[in-house]
């Protein structure tokens, strides 16, 4: 295991269990070793990839392909059904909207809790608070309950916190597109600097973003890695594939 390895995902798979009857859940808990009482929905299958320090990886794929689940697994929020994940260093997740905020609390309170959750000391986060507020640039709203925030403000604060926790890996789930152009530029500048020392794992539907920020792109299709490589190679292939395929429900099939 080399020291500059940040992510190592070795053949991970994730299935969610669907129960037809509520009681089946208990049957499964008690007799699970003899029989299966649920239907599997495989969100991810046999996904393997590695990321080294300073490497940025983009993930593309259609809705329901398993991108967000993959990020959740990398962040350690949920565990894979099979396979192994190793992550080294502090992870800052800017996951899709609503990022772990208590909407009753003010932005300031959430920033402190958010920073501590990510492993900073309370004193450190208070010291950095001015800088966080400046980055988020939401003015007086920082001391208002977050239920009054707009979607963009949510994302601004989420990103601002994650930008200040000395992360070694930033995991970003489609959130950049929510901000306005000015904020997107700010984030992009930040990420370009961040790449010099840290790694980025980015889910995006924006071709420009993937071209600009990523060294490599992983294309996930129905839970499996379809292709992996340079953005300039993978993105055109993905785009033409999307144009050819029909947009129907067959991709969300729950197997018996």
């Amino acid at each position: 295991m080399s020291s500059d390895l940040v992510i190592r995902a070795a053949g991970i798979g994730k299935s969610y269990q669907f129960y037809t009857h509520y009681a089946d859940r208990f049957k499964q808990m008690i007799f699970g070793r003899f029989r299966k009482f649920y239907k599997d929905y495989w969100v991810l299958r046999d996904v393997s990839f590695e990321a080294r320090r300073g490497e940025s990886i983009g993930i593309i794929g259609r809705n329901g392909a398993g991108k967000s689940t993959l990020l959740q697994i990398i962040c350690g929020i949920t565990t894979p059904t099979y396979g192994e994940v190793e992550v080294h260093g502090r992870v800052a997740p800017v996951l899709s909207l609503g990022t772990g905020f208590d909407t009753e609390l003010t932005g300031r309170e959430n920033a402190i809790i958010g920073g501590v959750v990510l492993g900073l000391r309370r004193a450190d986060i208070i010291k950095r608070f001015d800088s966080i507020a400046e980055f988020a640039a939401i003015g007086q709203f920082i001391d208002q309950p977050m239920k009054l925030y707009s979607t963009g403000m949510f994302m601004r604060l989420a990103f601002a916190i994650c930008a200040h926790v000395d992360a070694e890996l930033m995991v970003i789930d489609e959130s950049l597109s929510v901000g306005d152009t000015a904020f997107q530029d700010k984030c992009r500048t930040f990420l370009r600097n961040f790449r010099k020392t840290g790694s980025i794992l980015l889910v995006s539907h924006s071709v420009a973003e993937l071209h600009n920020l990523c060294d490599r792109v992983v294309w996930i299709d129905r839970g499996r890695i379809r292709e992996m490589g340079k953005p300039s190679e993978i993105i055109p292939k993905y785009q033409s594939a999307v144009h050819e395929e029909h947009d129907d429900a067959s991709r969300f099939l729950i197997e018996a």
Binding site: G76, T78, P80, E86, R90, T99, E109, I113, V117, L118
Partner: protein, 290 residues
Amino acid sequence: MTYQSRAKTSTAIMLSARKSGAPLGWLALPFTTGWRHRELIRVIVQREFAQRFRGSALGWFWAIISPIVMLGAYTIVFTGPFKVSAAAEAGVGHYALFIFAALIPFNLFTELFARAPNLMRENAWFLKKTIFPSDTLGWIALCRALIYAGISFAILLAFELALTGRIPATALLAPLVIVPYCLFLLGVVWFFAALGSLTQDVAHVVTSIMPLIIFGSPVFYSVADVPPAIREFAYLNPLAIYIEMTRNLVLAGVVPDFALYGQAWLVALVAFWVGHAVFMRYRSILVDVV
């Protein structure tokens, strides 16, 4: 922070326990995770209180006033005509104090027990969106409840001093009972939090048995009042152990029997480790279920 995630959570837990060095690392594991996240626990407990008293002019006053009202009412009702033999036998002049001293540990239990099954669901937005160590939810719930219990405890001592003119020196030993009691409570919280997130039924079961627990526990009576034939069984209810010991220390000035104290620790540690193990065993599933 470096972590590994494997398909089988139990192996992952064992691995991290082994990494902690000591051969019996798994025994210390629940403590070390709690200690590692102490800042987080502190911050969240602080914000819960800040939030609770925000928008109320008197703030903390309300946390203090409700136990005073309760104890005041007990005192008025039980001073004089209602004096019960239980109080006289326990050597306590005031039955109100007698009940209140038991109600503090009892309410600590009921508050946590009632809340545990929904603990994960209440915090689902947190668990699913950030890297939140879910076992700290147990510590957070305990700290919160302990603060209220502490306020009530201070009021109890103040009333005792006012009514009887003295507080037995053995009251200083109360922490020796409170510590194992907290471990017991944490075990209960983890166990029912895990069970409760798998099915809503647990929450309903808990609410329906709650009123029964108070009669099975020595709150309005003392274990000494239990008929000798079944007295041995009174301590099968773990709450009885802690309630009796606390009350004896604080009011009667009686140091607990050594065997009973040993039992208190035994029950506490078993509950603590079993609760934690069950919680950690199901932790990865719980996030997907709630």
